[in-house]
């Protein structure tokens, strides 16, 4: 049973455009929702994270939107750049002892 479902699997965006990646979860006990960025040959790196007590969190060009009632959260990358081309993973946790990851979205930002 997949605890966190992520879409789309791949995404192509023009430079300057908005990239949107969506995740849905089932377990209402989850209380921490991070997004990770992974470049080829590297381990994932924490990008931005949110707790369910807020509906939105913004850090620079990256924004998480959180919809508790729909059990969905999404990552928005504004003014997407070629350097943003990477694989993005959403995740969820309720104890910080165990994290459930989505299947990943491969983003390609075309110049």
């Amino acid at each position: 049973q997949q605890q966190v479902k992520q879409s789309p699997q791949s995404l192509i965006v023009q430079k300057g455009g908005i990239s949107i990646i969506n995740c849905a979860y089932e377990n209402t006990a989850f209380d921490y929702f991070p997004w990770y960025q992974q470049f080829p040959g590297k381990g994932p790196a924490l990008l931005i994270a949110i707790r369910p007590d807020v509906s939105e969190k913004k850090e620079g060009r990256f924004t998480i939107s959180f919809n508790k009632s729909a059990k969905q959260f999404s990552l928005h990358i504004m003014d997407s750049q070629p350097g943003d081309s990477a694989t993005y993973f959403c995740a969820a946790s309720f104890s910080l002892n165990k994290f459930y990851f989505g299947s990943g979205t491969k983003l390609n930002v075309k110049p």
């Binding site: 992520q6 590297k42 994932p44 165990k98 994290f99 990851f101 990943g104």
Partner: protein
């Protein structure tokens, strides 16, 4: 400072052989996690250590998989009698206890079982 390191970076083995994968966490990080990333898939949780103890081993796929951590630092993931389906990238992450929201990942060990 140094990040999380893992060795070997690549490992090719024959089906049925045992392999050991090593993780050196960031100094002072008491929490340590192992994940498996199969081709084109997300990360699959394997095991979590707090210090030398493993309160959550629920992700280990079978009894062929085991892990230990000594001195609250280095961790070893052992896979016995490897199978082709064990082929994947094995990632290790560490964090400070009390700040486990931020996991720092190593570059992973790419395991190929022939």
């Amino acid at each position: 400072g140094a990040g999380v390191s893992q060795s070997p970076s690549n490992k090719v083995t024959e089906k049925g052989k045992d392999v050991e994968l090593r993780c050196d966490p960031i100094s002072g990080h008491t929490a340590l996690y192992w994940y498996r990333q199969s081709l084109g898939q997300g990360l699959e949780f394997l095991i979590y250590f707090q210090g030398n103890s493993a309160p959550d081993k629920s992700g280990l796929p079978s009894d062929r998989f085991s892990a230990e951590r000594t001195g609250g630092s280095v961790s070893t993931l052992t896979i016995q009698r490897t199978q082709q389906e064990d082929s994947a990238v094995y990632l290790c992450a560490s964090s400070f206890f009390g700040a486990q929201e931020t996991q720092y990942f190593g570059p992973g060990t790419r395991l190929l079982v022939l």
